[in-house]
């Protein structure tokens, strides 16, 4: 599964430009699933319930979602000397930018530089940064206004942890793919959806939620932790297992969906954590309010340094997510 994580995180795909990630995932979808791409670019893989499953009242129409897109930058201006000005695609933090590298779709690399600051004690805003792509004028600049770039960073193991760019949410994609591969039998009508444009407003989840029209929805995405030095208080730690979302900044998880996951973990002896996230949200919040409403929840992979070029997850937590999803989807689901 580590190879899977490496290939997914090193793939290029800022919000709105997910085609490369989509093709990579599409090539890994196991037999038994039929896949299609919808209008927005979401990849929707479907495995119908076995004959008799739904009719016997045991199977449900369940949608699982992980987003393919990553945060990045978009070029706003090429100046007379060939330097690029840029804005964010999704929630980019200025602090870790200087000296970082970005990569454009064509493969071109750029180095992020920073203007001289009058007051170096304050974090500069994004408009004080620029990108050097080795050009000397607009004429020899290989990129143009509107082009997007992702962080450029390799995936590496550090102890039992893995660090990479775009862990948010390729790690969720990896969990879904692994679960699809290992899920032998299930009474349910299963829809694994790899969504687009989550980082810029949960947009793919809204339209695919409308299209799939699930009875139950589950997002698989990263969440923050409170276990680093002087971190904001949060009762989620790296290495303590997958986190079952109670609430976040955009959603109260459906109580039945939350209990379904917690009970499954307990029955299977899988350590897991209860997650209350004060800021941010996931695809589940958009699916929850699609059409006339969907019972929705979220299984979270704890991650450090989220939205930096080096996000960190624990491999045991990742495996724990897969271990939890398998029994959750193998048996009947009662969400009350």
């Amino acid at each position: 599964m580590k190879d899977l994580i490496r290939s997914l995180t090193e793939c290029w795909g800022p919000s709105g430009h997910e085609a490369g990630v989509r093709e990579l995932i599409r090539g890994m979808i196991p037999r038994g699933f039929e896949s299609r791409v919808d209008t927005m670019g979401n990849l929707i893989a479907h495995r119908p319930a076995p004959a008799g499953g739904r009719q016997a009242g045991r199977g449900r129409r369940i949608m699982l979602a992980a987003h393919m897109d990553e945060i990045g930058i978009v070029v706003t201006h090429v100046d007379q000397k060939g330097f690029l000005r840029f804005g964010s695609v999704g929630g980019v933090m200025p602090l870790p930018l200087t000296g970082g590298r970005v990569q454009f779709e064509s493969g071109f690399l750029g180095v992020i530089g920073l203007e001289r600051l009058e007051d170096s004690s304050r974090v500069p805003s994004l408009d004080r940064f620029f990108i050097d792509v080795g050009a000397t004028s607009p004429a020899d600049c290989p990129v143009k206004v509107g082009d997007v770039a992702s962080f450029h960073r390799s995936c590496e193991e550090i102890g039992s942890r893995i660090t990479a760019k775009a862990m948010d949410d390729r790690i969720g994609c990896a969990v879904l793919l692994q679960a699809m591969k290992e899920l032998d039998s299930s009474p349910h009508d299963l829809w694994f959806v790899f969504t687009v444009q989550e980082e810029i407003g949960l947009r793919g989840a809204g339209t695919s939620g409308y299209g799939v029209e699930p009875e139950i929805a589950l997002a698989v995405d990263v969440t923050f932790t409170g276990d680093t030095p002087e971190a904001a208080p949060m009762a989620v730690s790296l290495g303590a297992g997958p986190a079952v979302k109670i609430k976040d900044g955009g959603m109260l998880a459906h109580a039945g969906v939350k209990d379904w996951l917690l009970a499954t973990a307990q029955a299977a002896g899988i350590p897991c954590q209860r997650e209350v996230l004060l800021r941010g949200t996931t695809d589940a919040s958009a699916i929850q309010v699609s059409r006339s409403g969907v019972p929705a929840g979220c299984l979270s992979i704890p991650a450090r340094y989220v939205h930096s070029p080096s996000e960190v997850v624990d491999f045991g937590d990742v495996q724990g997510c897969v271990k939890l999803l398998l029994p959750a989807l193998r048996g009947p689901v009662d969400i009350g």
């Binding site: 706003t76 206004v145 339209t207 409308y210």
Partner: protein
């Protein structure tokens, strides 16, 4: 050139009409009259959108929506003081700095008023350096009592900037410039009227939308009802060419043709539509520019998310000083935007295939 009729006469009437978000009736009446003989059907929906339908030749099974918003930013009266002055709030995004000493016209009766400001002689130390906030300002209609003020301008009435539509020589192509309020988005409305003179291969739906400036609201229900396979939003976008020492983006520039939005904070344009319209520009000799991608937001922001999603694109006429009492555009940009809209739409069936969906 059938896509460029009526300008600037229709545009003048549209710009001078009162159409603050939520009160688009006067603009709609002008449009209804202008399109009546050009369309196969039209209706006004529950929110006030004017939606027109023009059947295609049958060569394409696509259903394509083009949208332009009727509303403009302005003010709403929130009450009267005992002294007879009127309190107000802003409707849509307006910079507080453009308000003081402006003439406004209130309601359908166009009651004139002025946003009061102390004369320069009476300013106290420090006042000169501060911009008064909108909530500290009031509108003076010359009333001497609360009752008279409420009679002239009841609470809830909307007010627009009093601003004459002026044309003058100049512009990059010598075609002249327009200075007027509400170019955002009456230029889109005028171009859309022009497009209704065409008969495309596909079924064509024109939506003149309400309440864009307060949250892209009308477009959302129009797209929900019309179920388009693709959407084009016709807009007016800001050009910020004021001199600056910093070599940074002016967003768009006058005289450089329509601005294509590849993405903005409200949506990501469908790459097939971007490609089709870019090629339409290059191959037809119509200049175009790419808008700075981190600012703004248009009706495409709500249309592209409707139901299972709609491939969308925005093209816009660049204008300086938008969302103020007077904005300025180059007429060559207006004509080029109309031409690019027509050329690009003509190419849509080829660009999208017959289903309009991705593969």
């Amino acid at each position: 050139m059938p896509s460029q009729p009526d300008a600037p006469e229709l545009l003048r009437r549209l710009c001078e009409a009162h159409g603050i978000s939520g009160r688009e009736e006067a603009v709609r009446a002008i449009l209804l009259e202008a399109i009546r003989d050009r369309v196969d059907a039209c209706r006004i929906d529950s929110m006030g959108n004017l939606i027109a339908f023009k059947k295609g030749t049958g060569a394409s099974r696509l259903r394509v929506l083009a949208a332009a918003h009727m509303d403009e930013v302005g003010l709403v009266i929130t009450g009267a003081e005992d002294s007879g002055t009127l309190r107000f709030a802003k409707v849509g995004g307006i910079d507080d700095r453009v308000l003081p000493a402006r003439m406004v016209l209130i309601g359908a009766r166009r009651v004139p008023g002025v946003i009061g400001i102390k004369p320069v002689h009476l300013l106290e130390r420090g006042e000169r350096d501060r911009v008064p906030e909108a909530r500290q300002l009031s509108i003076d209609v010359g009333a001497s009592s609360r009752a008279e003020a409420e009679r002239l301008a009841p609470r809830g009435e909307t007010a627009m900037f009093a601003s004459e539509f002026l044309t003058s020589a100049g512009g990059t192509a010598g075609t002249g410039v327009v200075q007027a309020k509400a170019l955002d988005d009456r230029v889109g409305c005028a171009i859309l009227v022009g497009l209704l003179a065409e008969r495309f291969e596909f079924d064509f739906v024109a939506a003149f939308t309400v309440q864009e400036e307060v949250g892209l609201r009308g477009a959302r229900v129009a797209a929900w009802a019309e179920k388009p396979d693709a959407a084009l939003v016709l807009e007016c976008t800001g050009a910020n060419e004021v001199p600056s020492k910093r070599d940074v983006s002016p967003s768009t520039r006058l005289g450089h043709g329509p601005a294509l939005t590849v993405r903005d904070p409200s949506f990501v344009a469908d790459p097939r539509l971007v490609e089709a319209f870019s090629r339409a520009g290059s191959e037809s000799g119509i200049p175009y520019q790419v808008k700075q991608p981190t600012i703004g937001g248009t009706d495409a922001g709500s249309i592209h998310r409707v139901r299972e999603g709609v491939p969308s694109l925005t093209i816009a006429v660049p204008a300086r000083y938008i969302h103020s009492p007077v904005s300025m555009m180059d007429l060559s940009d207006f004509h080029h935007t109309a031409a690019l809209a027509r050329e690009g739409l003509t190419r849509l069936p080829g660009a999208l295939g017959e289903r309009g969906a991705g593969t």
